[in-house]
Symmetry: C2
Subunit: 403 residues, 2 copies
C-alpha cells in the first residue's frame, strides 16, 4: 500500500542522535531516505550499546528503514558523487539533512549552484556555530538543579534535546517542502540544538517564571511541579507513580486510599483548598505522607488492580528489562512494534513511528541497512551510472558495497 | 512578509503540554491556529507556574501566537458552533488537533459527516484509550532507574515525552496535509503518549540492549553512557559539563588538563584503548579522577576560557535564574527571542521557534491571546455570522469575548 510520504526522497549525512532520528522519522512515514556514510562507517557506527561482537544497537536503531550508500568523501570524486545525489532532479527530491558542517564541499552555495530549489537543513550545536551536545546544553538550561533532591545537580541520562531536535528536523523539512511545492522556492534551514533547548524552556514557562517571579523553583525530588504527583512503594518493594492533575484524578486517589477525612483535616490546618492544583503542590509532602500507608500495606498486584478500578492515573516503575520482558505494550502485541530481522545482528523488537494514520495500514518496520547495501542501486537508479561506471568507482575505492 | 505556513488554518481544543505545544509550533511557523476554550478557561488555564496575581505563565507560554475563541461547549449550540468551525470549508482549513476524547460531539464520524476530507489528530494517553501523563509514562519506560545514583528511582522533572509528542503532532498534521493536497484524502490520526515514549526507547537502542544483551544498564550518575562525559566542580564551586565523544573532543580534554601521561598509564593498567568510546566509558570513574584536579585548582572564569581555547566540548551548569540573567543566548541578543508584551501579565522574554528558514525573516513572536480575544472575529470571518447573530450568542452565554 502506498504510504504517507511515499515518493519523497531525502538525502542524509549524519551522526549521533538528532539528525539520524529526524531522517528515520521521515523514513518511517514512508519517505525514501538515503543515508551516506564514509566507507567503513562514520564516527557513530560503533557507538554503545553494542552487541557481544561489537555491532552497534544504537546506530542500527537510529537508521531503520533508510537506504545506505558508502562513499569515500575524503576524495573529490566521492564528494562530487554525493553532491550529484543531493541535488538530483525531481520535484520530490532535492532535500538534504545533515549535522556535518555546511561548508567546503557541503557549503549551501556549492550545492545550490547545482540545484537552486534545494531544501537544505543543517543541524548545528549553537547559533554561533560552536559545538554543543545534549549534555552540555542540558546543564546550561538549569534542569539538573531541579532533578533529584538538589544537593548536587543530576543529569538526565536520556538525551531529550536530541530527540526533540530530531522531530523538529522532520517537521522543518516537511514545512519547507510544502512551501516549495506551492512556490517553487527552496531554502537553507538552520537548527541549533542549544536553541531547541532554550525555546522549549521558554515554551513551558520556566524562563518566564524565573524572570517574572524571580524565585528559584525548588528541586522536585519525585514530585510533579504545580500539582500532586509522587511515587509510592508497595509492600513488596515495587513502586508506582501516581498523578492527580485533573479533579477526577485527584478525587480518585483520595477515594481509593480512603483518606477523605485526613485530607479535609489537612486542608483546614493549612488553610488550603486541594481542589486547586497549586494548593496540592504546596502541601505535597504532607499529602504524600497521608497516602503512603495505603501503598505500604499492599503488594503491587493488589495496588495496581485497585488503582485501575478507582480510575487513578498511575504508572508502574519498571526497569527497561522489565519493560521489555513483561509489558504487553512493549511487544508485538502493540501494532507499533514488530519483531524484525536486523542483518548482521538477528531478530529483535523494533518500533515503527507512533503516529497512526487511518488512511494507511501501518508500514512494516524495516531494519537498518547494511553499510553500503544500496550503493550500486542508488548510483544506477538516481545517478544513472551503468555497471561499468559503478565497477570503476568500486575499483578506485570511491564507493563500497555491503561486505 | 508572508511566512512559511501562512494561510494554513488549524483548530485546536487542548489542555496540558503536548497538544498545545503542537499547535503553538504550527502557529510559530506561520499557521493560523484557533484555540477554543470553555468560557472562563479550561482545566489548565490556571496551572503553575503562576504570577503573583495568579496568571498562569504555563498556559500563556504554551499558547503564544494563537487566536482564542471562548465557547460554552457544555451547551449543544456551542458544540454546533465549534463543529462548524472545525469543518469550515477551504483547502487550507479542515485541520483539527485535540487531546479531548474523540467521542460524542467530537467523534470523528460526527465531524467527518460535515467535512469528509477533515484531518483530525487526536492525542490519547495509551493505545487502549487509558489515561497516561508524562510522569506515569516515564516511570514505565525505566529511565528513573538510570537517573542519579540508582539507590532509588529519580523522576525527570522535565516532561520530555509531552514535548516530543507535541512535535509529533505538528509533524503528523503537516504530513497528512501534504497527503490531502496531493490526493484529496483526509484522515483521522491517533497518537498515544505512551507509544511516543516506547518508540523512542526503541529508536535509541535501549530496548534492543535489554532484549539482546540481557544486561541492566547501570545508573548513570552524571556520566554519559558509552563514552566519556561528566561534570566537574571548579575552585569557586561552579560546575561544568565536559564531553569527549569525538576523537577531537577527547584529545582536547586530555590536552587542556595536561593528563596525557596519566591517561596513557591508565590505558596500560586497564588494557584499554581510549581512542574507543566504549573503553573510555569502561574506565569512566578513573578518568574522571584524573581530570578532577585541574578543575578544582581554577575558578570558573579561567576554566571556561581555557576550555574554549582548547576546543573542548563543554557547557556550564546554570540555574534557570542564572540562565535568564546572564546567558546572552537566552536574551533578545538571540534572534529567536523577543521581549513581548503579554496582555494581562506584562513584558517578558519569549522564544519563537528554533528552525531558522532562509526564505523568510523570523516572524515576530506573538503573545498568547486573551481568553476569547478573537471570538467575534472568528465567528464573523470564518462562520460568516453578522453582529446581530454574534450578539445573540453572547446574550445566551454560548460565547464570550475577552474581559
Amino acid at each position: 500500500m502506498q504510504n504517507l510520504l511515499q515518493g519523497l526522497r531525502i538525502v542524509e549525512g549524519s551522526a549521533f542522535i538528532a539528525a539520524p532520528s529526524g531522517g528515520m522519522t521521515l523514513a518511517q512515514l514512508g519517505a525514501d531516505v538515503i543515508r551516506f556514510d564514509q566507507i567503513g562507517g562514520g564516527i557513530d557506527y560503533r557507538r554503545w550499546p553494542v552487541t557481544e561482537d561489537g555491532k552497534s544497537l544504537y546506530w542500527h536503531s537510529l537508521n531503520k528503514g533508510k537506504r545506505s550508500i558508502a562513499v569515500d568523501f575524503r576524495q573529490d570524486a566521492g564528494r562530487e558523487l554525493l553532491r550529484d545525489l543531493i541535488t538530483a532532479p525531481g520535484e520530490n527530491s532535492g532535500l538534504f539533512v545533515t549535522n556535518f558542517p555546511a561548508k567546503g564541499w557541503l557549503a549551501d552555495a556549492e550545492l545550490r549552484n547545482k540545484r537552486e530549489d534545494l531544501i537544505y537543513l543543517n543541524l548545528v550545536g549553537d547559533r554561533h556555530g560552536g559545538t554543543a551536545l545534549d549534555y552540555t546544553v542540558n546543564s546550561r538550561v538549569g534542569l539538573p538543579f531541579l532533578t533529584g533532591d538538589g544537593v548536587e545537580p543530576v543529569n538526565n541520562p536520556f538525551p531529550a534535546w536530541d530527540v526533540i531536535a530530531g522531530q523538529q528536523i522532520a517537521l522543518g523539512v516537511l514545512a519547507a517542502e510544502r512551501h516549495r511545492r506551492l512556490s517553487g522556492e527552496g531554502q537553507f534551514i538552520r537548527l541549533a540544538l542549544a536553541d531547541v533547548a532554550l525555546a522549549t524552556m521558554g515554551h513551558l514557562g520556566y524562563l518566564a517564571e524565573a524572570e517574572i517571579n524571580k524565585q528559584s523553583r525548588p528541586p522536585m525530588g519525585n514530585h510533579v511541579f504545580g500539582t500532586f504527583g509522587h511515587d509510592f512503594a508497595c509492600r513488596d518493594g515495587r513502586r508506582v507513580m501516581i498523578v492527580g492533575v485533573s479533579p477526577n484524578q485527584w478525587r480518585a486517589i483520595v477515594s481509593v486510599t480512603a483518606t477523605q477525612q485526613a485530607i479535609e483535616q489537612l486542608e483546614k490546618e493549612k488553610g488550603l483548598d486541594f481542589r486547586k492544583e497549586g494548593d496540592r503542590f504546596a502541601a505535597r509532602e504532607s499529602i504524600k505522607k497521608l497516602f503512603e500507608t495505603w501503598f505500604k500495606e499492599k503488594d503491587y498486584t493488589e495496588v495496581s488492580s485497585q488503582l485501575d478500578t478507582a480510575g487513578v492515573c498511575w504508572g508502574p516503575y519498571q526497569t527497561i528489562e522489565e519493560l521489555v520482558e513483561n509489558d504487553p505494550d512493549c511487544s508485538d502485541d502493540n501494532p507499533m512494534f514488530q519483531r524484525v530481522q536486523q542483518p548482521g545482528i538477528g531478530e529483535y523488537l523494533m518500533p515503527g513511528q507512533p503516529l497512526d494514520f487511518s488512511a494507511f495500514a501501518r508500514e512494516d518496520v524495516r531494519p537498518a541497512p547494511l553499510l553500503g547495501e544500496h550503493t550500486d542501486e542508488v548510483l544506477n537508479e538516481i545517478l544513472g551510472l551503468d555497471s561499468s561506471a559503478i565497477g570503476k568507482l568500486h575499483d578506485q575505492g570511491i564507493v563500497a558495497g555491503a561486505s
